[in-house]
Amino acid sequence: MKLGAYLLWTPVAVAAGWTVLLGYLLDDAVNPLADLRLLLLRWAVWIAAAAVLMGLLNLLTVHWSKISLLEPGWPYSALVLLFFLTTLVLGVVFGTDYPIVSLLFQYVQLPVEASLMGLLAITLVLAGVRLMLRRRHLTSAIFLVVAVLVLLGTGPWPGGNASALQEAIVVGRRWITQVFAAGGARGIVIGIALGAITTGLRVLLASDRPYAD
């Protein structure tokens, strides 16, 4: 990128970021930035909506390029384009409530996503077994033991719910999820929040410039 463009975009992005942030930190009643903050946020929403269209255009371009160059997997790209354009035309011409558009979502999109969720359950069981083979250390063992305990303490048992062993496992599961897991998750969430703050601050201090370099 040329030096001139870099010098233009960085102050604009930094000023917009600080305006929105300071707009949150000051009280609305005495906040000269409140209106400007709302205006910038409204612009951001519009730009994000336009970016969705750009993303779809990108999807079309990528798959069209694969088809025209007959790259490996081009028949998949042809199918994607066919269904993409069919759904788009039906949605634009007849509206999103049109029965065929609804049917496509109900009988294609939703079942595919639901079956992937089901696949995730199987994947995790296999991954748990592989974990012990691949990373043989204490944390992997704890991970697996806790996962099995929580599963046993959550699901129904074949012989009914009256056994003393099951009672003990249910109490153990509650103790693990409400004390250890909840405490650990809170610690992780605090860490993630601190990481997110510093990432945002680096953008506001123009150290990271995802918009231009």
Binding site: M1, L25, A48, Q109, L116, I188, I192, G195
Partner: protein, 247 residues
């Protein structure tokens, strides 16, 4: 009250960031090893030498909202990865589920190639929106990994449960998998399926470990300092509450 506290915390963060950045020149920080980042450089070199592609996923989140932060961390990593793979026969490919992130990825790739004098190698199709919904995004990954000869799979962004599937698809394609998310349940799932899972805030630490600049290293030191303060505040509050000194 909460606005005042937020402002104080923000000011503290900025002072710590700038202070540690200045201190870092004289006393560089030593960070604990993170196996995923240690192995990343070697995986990229292997991919470049073998003529394979490196795939960087910026997640299934949007640029608007809190899930943007890990994607921005992913963009920082992408900048370094794109530079290192720019001379490869098959440069890095980037995917996301959000159009705005794809545009930022295109810009990051273009800038990285220009920096190393390889601007003519940039292709706008190297950054792709695979699908707008999380599971549809995961469903398209196996085809991408197979047809693009991906041998290093870097998932740094906001993922939900579909992140575990994305990591597992990478493993099935026999590629190096480094995976991190800002979502706690997704991190637990990725721990099981990814070769190199990133836990907690490690997803934001890539810039410091790949030495992207003084502020990246300073970020980790500032986070640790604020974390220590928060731990002390929590312990003090717990003690006061236990002793019945506060309501």
């Amino acid at each position: 009250m909460s606005q005042t506290l937020s402002a104080i915390l923000l000011l503290l963060f900025i002072l710590l960031l700038l202070g540690y950045a200045a201190l870092g020149r004289r006393r560089p920080a030593l960070f604990r090893p993170i196996p995923g980042f240690d192995a990343l450089g070697e995986a990229i070199e292997r991919a470049v030498e073998a003529g394979d592609r490196v795939h960087v996923s910026l997640g299934t989140g949007s640029l608007l909202g809190p899930e943007a932060a890990p994607a921005l961390a992913g963009l920082s990593l992408l900048s370094r990865i794109a530079t290192r793979t720019s001379m490869s026969d098959r440069p890095a490919v980037v995917t996301a589920a959000d159009g705005a992130l794809v545009m930022l990825a295109q810009d990051t790739l273009r800038a990285a190639y220009s920096r190393v004098g390889a601007g003519q190698r940039y292709r706008h199709t190297s950054a792709r929106m695979l699908a707008p919904s999380p599971f549809a995004y995961a469903a398209t990954l196996p085809v991408l990994l197979a047809t693009e000869n991906v041998s290093a799979n870097i998932l740094v962004g906001s993922f939900g449960p579909e992140g575990a599937l994305a990591a597992d698809f990478g493993r099935q394609a026999s590629s190096f998998v480094l995976a991190g998310s800002d979502d706690v349940p997704a991190q637990a799932l990725m721990y099981a399926t990814a070769e190199h899972p990133l836990i907690g805030e490690e997803v934001f630490a890539g810039g410091a470990y790949l030495q992207l600049g003084a502020l990246h290293s300073a970020s980790l030191r500032a986070q640790d300092a604020v974390r220590l303060i928060l731990v002390l505040v929590i312990l003090a509050a717990t003690a006061l509450r236990t002793l019945g000194l506060v309501g």
